[in-house]
């Protein structure tokens, strides 16, 4: 008897699922959506910093997935293939919305007296400032920085998702990092985030 759905799937599982999707099997469409929706949501949220426009973007990603899935041959894991599509959709969204954007914190003041409420409110405020600074960067730097630094993915994985070299991805991360350090000179919340408030770097 099978246990709960495993978090990881074999390459054969991926190819079988893709084949069923190509054949128009709606159960397979639903299975793929259910299996991968959180993975896609995390990428979009990390890159964009909020759930605004999220419904449309999730639809965009999955419709593109189903449109392109006849080309999936299983050379990479289905998840990696999905990551690339999600990154591409996020990238296009950033470059499309080049209007002046002001992102306000949705927590104007602490709403709870529970322990840690102030800190959580401050963290969300800092996140709003961080993404506001990221709005002013080239999209490629933003995507590389958010996936590596904010989401904690290894550089190699980020490079694969962006279809770029490891060296190019490192350069993008460091350029974004340098720009944020400059922004931190004017914004104490960003400075605190980058200097003292963050966790130490993970093993890369």
């Amino acid at each position: 008897m099978k246990g709960p759905v495993a978090a990881r799937f074999s390459r054969r599982d991926d190819v079988d699922l893709a084949r069923r999707c190509v054949s128009g099997d709606q159960t397979a469409h639903r299975e793929l959506f259910q299996r991968e929706r959180r993975r896609v949501h995390v990428i979009l949220f990390r890159v964009l910093g909020s759930n605004a426009d999220m419904d449309d973007l999730l639809q965009e990603v999955f419709i593109e997935v189903f449109r392109s899935i006849p080309g999936f041959r299983g050379e990479a894991a289905l998840g990696t293939w999905l990551d690339r599509i999600a990154v591409r959709v996020a990238y296009a969204h950033i470059t499309r919305r080049r209007v002046e954007t002001v992102r306000l914190s949705i927590v104007a003041e602490p709403v709870s007296h529970q322990p840690g409420a102030d800190e959580r409110a401050m963290t969300r405020e800092a996140a709003a400032h961080l993404y506001s600074a990221l709005d002013r960067m080239p999209a490629s730097q933003r995507v590389a920085f958010t996936l590596h630094v904010v989401d904690g993915r290894p550089i190699k994985q980020v490079a694969e998702s962006m279809d770029a070299s490891v060296v190019a991805t490192k350069v993008r991360v460091w350029r974004a990092w340098r720009a944020l350090r400059r922004a931190g000179g004017r914004d104490p919340l960003i400075a605190d985030l980058l200097n003292g408030g963050a966790q130490p770097p993970d093993e890369r």
Partner: protein
């Protein structure tokens, strides 16, 4: 400067999407999946690109957006009278120059027009108040569902929102409201008016906000102008048998609307009973029963009720909505 970047993912949590939003996304994706599969051409490069999606995808996206808009309208968005109550502590003020700005506030997007002044207060958990001091705001508000309201205040005019796309413009004391999707209820000087999609309040105003007499739209006092979903006007709790004490058609209708979320079957029974009585509230109830059956997934009953509505009230206030909903159910 050689210090490596910190890792922030333990600090910033991914805000979850509500299950209702996931359900909507899933429905839209699965509806579009067959079309997308049929339209599949040779596989494209998956390298990140800066350009827009190809025309074929745009068409699919437009269809999805249209389907979503129809679903939203058919879902019976409800609008309520405004009694501003959220405090203004922690208010953020935005003043724009010649170009305007886009503000993302929680799950809502507000385009602030040129030379406008706007204040934002509250949050998604407690309710949002947008105060328009001058100029123009174009709001795209995600459905509020069970959450506290999203309110726009402009001088003496209040608009309470549950989810829609609309524009509020203010020049001095003159205010106009232009509804592009959904429906809003506008309150001014104690008078109220429903403003449906594609309409403007006051009717004689321009998009820039002139002429702001008291609302002249359909009054809510005794007769319904249009079925708008759940809009209770008092706090009495309804029960499945509540209609026994609800004497007027309006009270029956409101009792049914209060039951929609918790006891949809009881709400439909009340709506059907009211529909048999005819009259303006009966017409509204008939449409509401069809809409609710569609929401519950009973498409056969929904189609029967909506066709019955169109046969009895072909020019009724919800006739267009009924036709759109029927199209969606085919």
């Amino acid at each position: 400067m050689k210090r490596p970047p910190p890792i922030l993912h333990r600090k910033f949590e991914v805000e979850p999407l509500g299950e209702a939003r996931w359900t909507r996304v899933e429905r839209a994706v699965l509806d579009g999946a067959a079309n997308a599969a049929n339209a599949a051409g040779p596989p494209r490069s998956l390298a990140p690109r800066a350009d827009a999606p190809p025309p074929r995808w745009r068409l699919a996206a437009a269809m999805l957006v249209l389907a979503g808009a129809v679903a939203t309208i058919a879902g019976g968005l409800a609008w309520r009278v405004v009694v501003p109550s959220v405090g203004h502590e922690g208010t953020t003020r935005v003043e724009t120059a010649a170009n305007g700005s886009r503000v993302e506030f929680g799950e809502s997007t507000i385009d602030v027009g040129p030379t406008s002044a706007v204040r934002f207060a509250g949050d998604d958990a407690r309710g949002v108040v947008v105060t328009l001091d001058r100029g123009r705001v174009e709001c795209d508000v995600a459905p509020r569902r069970e959450r506290p309201p999203f309110v726009v205040e402009a001088g003496g005019v209040d608009v309470r929102v549950i989810g829609t796309h609309f524009v509020v413009a203010r020049t001095g004391d003159a205010v106009s409201v232009d509804v592009q999707r959904g429906e809003v209820e506008v309150t001014s000087g104690g008078a109220r008016a429903l403003v449906p999609a594609g309409s403007r309040w006051p009717p004689s105003s321009t998009a820039d906000g002139v002429d702001a007499p008291a609302p002249s739209g359909p009054p809510l006092s005794n007769e319904p102008a249009r079925e708008t979903g759940s809009h209770p006007t008092d706090s009495r709790a309804a029960s499945p048998a509540g209609h026994a004490t609800a004497t007027s058609p309006r009270e029956q209708y409101e009792a049914a609307s209060r039951l929609e979320a918790a006891q949809p079957a009881a709400a439909i029974a009340l709506y059907r009973e009211l529909a048999h009585q005819g009259g303006a509230w009966g017409a509204n109830a008939l449409f509401a029963a069809g809409r609710l059956e569609a929401d519950r997934g009973d498409h056969d009953d929904a189609r029967r009720l909506l066709r019955d509505y169109l046969a009895r009230y072909p020019g009724g206030p919800n006739a267009n909505d009924a036709r759109q909903l029927l199209d969606r159910l085919r």
